[in-house]
Subunit: 515 residues, 2 copies
Amino acid sequence: MNGAESLVTSLVNAGVNICFTNPGTSEMHFVAALDKVDGMRAVLGLFEGVVTGAADGYGRMTGEPAATLLHLGPGLGNGLANLHNAKKARSPIINIIGEHATYHRKYNAPLQSDIQSIAAPVSDWVKTCDDPKQITKHGIEAVHAALTPPGQVATLILPADVSWSDGAGIPEKFVDLPEAPIVSPKRVAEIAKALQKGDPSAILMDGASLSEEGLALGNRIANHTGAKLYCDTFSRRLARGAGRAKISRLPYFGESIMDKLKDIKQFILVGAKPPVSFFAYPDKPSWLVPDGCTIHTLAEPSQNSIQALKDLAAAVNAPEDSLAVYEQERPELPTGKLDITTAAQAVGALMPENAIISDESNTSGLMFLPMTKGAPKHDWMFLTGGSIGQGLPLSVGASIACPDRKVICLEADGSAMYTIQALWTMARENLDVTTIIFSNRSYAILQVEFARVGVKDLGKNANSVMSLNSPDIDFVNLATGMGVKATRSETADEFVEQLSDAMSEKGPRLIEVVL
Amino acid sequence: MNGAESLVTSLVNAGVNICFTNPGTSEMHFVAALDKVDGMRAVLGLFEGVVTGAADGYGRMTGEPAATLLHLGPGLGNGLANLHNAKKARSPIINIIGEHATYHRKYNAPLQSDIQSIAAPVSDWVKTCDDPKQITKHGIEAVHAALTPPGQVATLILPADVSWSDGAGIPEKFVDLPEAPIVSPKRVAEIAKALQKGDPSAILMDGASLSEEGLALGNRIANHTGAKLYCDTFSRRLARGAGRAKISRLPYFGESIMDKLKDIKQFILVGAKPPVSFFAYPDKPSWLVPDGCTIHTLAEPSQNSIQALKDLAAAVNAPEDSLAVYEQERPELPTGKLDITTAAQAVGALMPENAIISDESNTSGLMFLPMTKGAPKHDWMFLTGGSIGQGLPLSVGASIACPDRKVICLEADGSAMYTIQALWTMARENLDVTTIIFSNRSYAILQVEFARVGVKDLGKNANSVMSLNSPDIDFVNLATGMGVKATRSETADEFVEQLSDAMSEKGPRLIEVVL
């Protein structure tokens, strides 16, 4: 058994059974091992940003790490942006980065680069394995790293000769990790006391606490103690829909957050960080916690936030019936003009139970959350790291993780073009993903931000880099070219018809919404 | 004048007049400065791999640095693979990487990452400017770094508050760099003596020596002394065509190189490195210099190789008439079956004088060099760093650099999909680029490499990651969707007709060659 076979065997034994990849020559033994060893499925992305974004989506929906297999420094570089998003999402991922043979690196061949340096900023754990005898040990360490609460990006750099050499020995047995650490009763009691003082409070939740159970607990605590309940603006995954607990999402812009929080005297953090501005702006604050406000951390992201919420609910005696949930409620089917409101109405009216939403709709998405809050239960995934090109790949991974659930990808045109190759993987794997492209033919957020940073005039160069027209992009052509059935909607009625059709069928679809 | 305006002014004064970009919020002041200050044109790429590859192509054709403007660590990550290629090509490039405001970094906002760590492996020079008073100085340092022979990738990280703050002061004046250092007469004399001994010798050339003048000098020296003359397998740019000096290109596979060089007793390096294998393979050597062979360096890549060749030609008394050039000679127009030979015949028969070839044809390109050696004079650009997705963006940059020359992009289907967004920039800028896609519907090189690394069986997973069918990609649809006129050729006659048409018109075209 060579190194690659031992590694794949170890990973499969540890429950890693999917490998998103775009491999090269240095990964050929690993690819061969994927066929020699039973239990791991290879899924090809035509670009590494698709590969890493898919692993993120898979991790968010299963809580289990997918492997990625990437080709040296440049392959990792191509996947870097969505690894950045995955790290901010705290998704469990195991990157296997092929590298030149150990003895080959000194020759500075064309593909030589410092992989560790590229990997470190997007990884919680990085190791290069230069010894075939260590490869299974390192493989299991990578799984442990990926599964370390709340989830981590682990990167294992695998030289080609370590892959092809014999003597890696018997794969190590995988030992389950301990559960996420429990928050101390003392801490829970302190926070219960703080909440019961009656000062204006906000509970800010993120990460694992945004499950149906966590939200219900947070909601009961908030309602019983009079606190406000918020989730982070860009969470990895939020349980939503009729019958689920109400929660407010923090807005995007710093001044809107400040306005919402201006009277708050204490924050209770549940797997969340204190709010900061997404970007810095001249004469606007970055730190958004009001002056004089105290911050209490109920649970760090790495701690068991659900148990902490249960304990806190008990400590403040929050009754079951203090729970406030969204009523079942759908918007009416829209007709007439197609815009961001009527598009959101149609999605709210038509999305099926158990849908998974991959949301990279950016400025076109303002109406989606209000229009879908009373729709059947669903999960919503946000753009966690701010690096565009996440939405389509995330949908690929989520659909492979949950083949029985409809994935709806809400996608801005500019962001879609970053990783448009994901459509091909949807076609090849026949994924049940409906992609809705919002064609406003601009980087609309930049037009807003341009004004916000204090710049007044949109000159020729500025206009050129913020507009996506001249030529207009025809997403129906692009999707068709990659094997995905596609249509274009120019009126609300057309969109309703096309979306109804997409929701009633299985398989990949794309609808271009012309705004 | 704020920091961004001072920086742009300094760059323009130093001759930097083009900025390939995909900016974000942290770069808005730089974008505004591109309009406030005259002299720099912004060109938008829909993905950063297009941006950096275009800068590489521009640098290769002009010898002058383009600026890129990229959005924090993820934007740089997206452009990393083509910066890797550019660094290996020794192209002059100035990357301006927008960063959070200096005071904002500590908050670990979603887009925070360690930009220096990502930049270092693909940069020869990296600096973060945290002080507006230093920005023009750093800007000029970046230009100097980029222009330091033989050309370098310089990366300047620009925090948003440094961009927007006043007080950057008067832009620094740009002082021309000294020319590339001259090789000492002593070294030239030593090498003349070594060549005149009569041992079987090979002159290996790369970099600036592959100009028309350098090739002629190398060719005369080789013919007069009986040495063999080679260029590196993957050079940044090679002057070719009828009337230009003959040179052999080193093959791709290590064993082919070894076979060619087996009787050589001494190497003369002219801006080149000793040959090494592109990848390592079990039981095959990485170092391809025959045992007992001596290595003489006439010129380091940073030295003036043209002057060194002139001096060497004089020292060995190589007469003008020892020059051997390619005769004017075109293949016949092919008819019948369309394959990699007839496709190459058609290109050789039809390419116009002064064409620029961006070659990422990979396994489909075996016949192009022999079929075009007697075509009218042209320049050929190779995939320098082995990171696919270079060909289309390189064409964008080359065409912007040389708007009066026809650019022909020879592009493998798998590689094309990495940076397919480049087609949109070709359409927007109305670039005179004809892209020829070779659709063999596989990563054919991997099928070859799979066998070469010693793996015998192509199992289900291996087949899945090496084939590009199921579904077939329709490049005519993709190009049309991005505003580029496109056709498909299934016979040699169709290809001849479509290519003739493309060569006789100006503007972007795509032809999908179905193999």
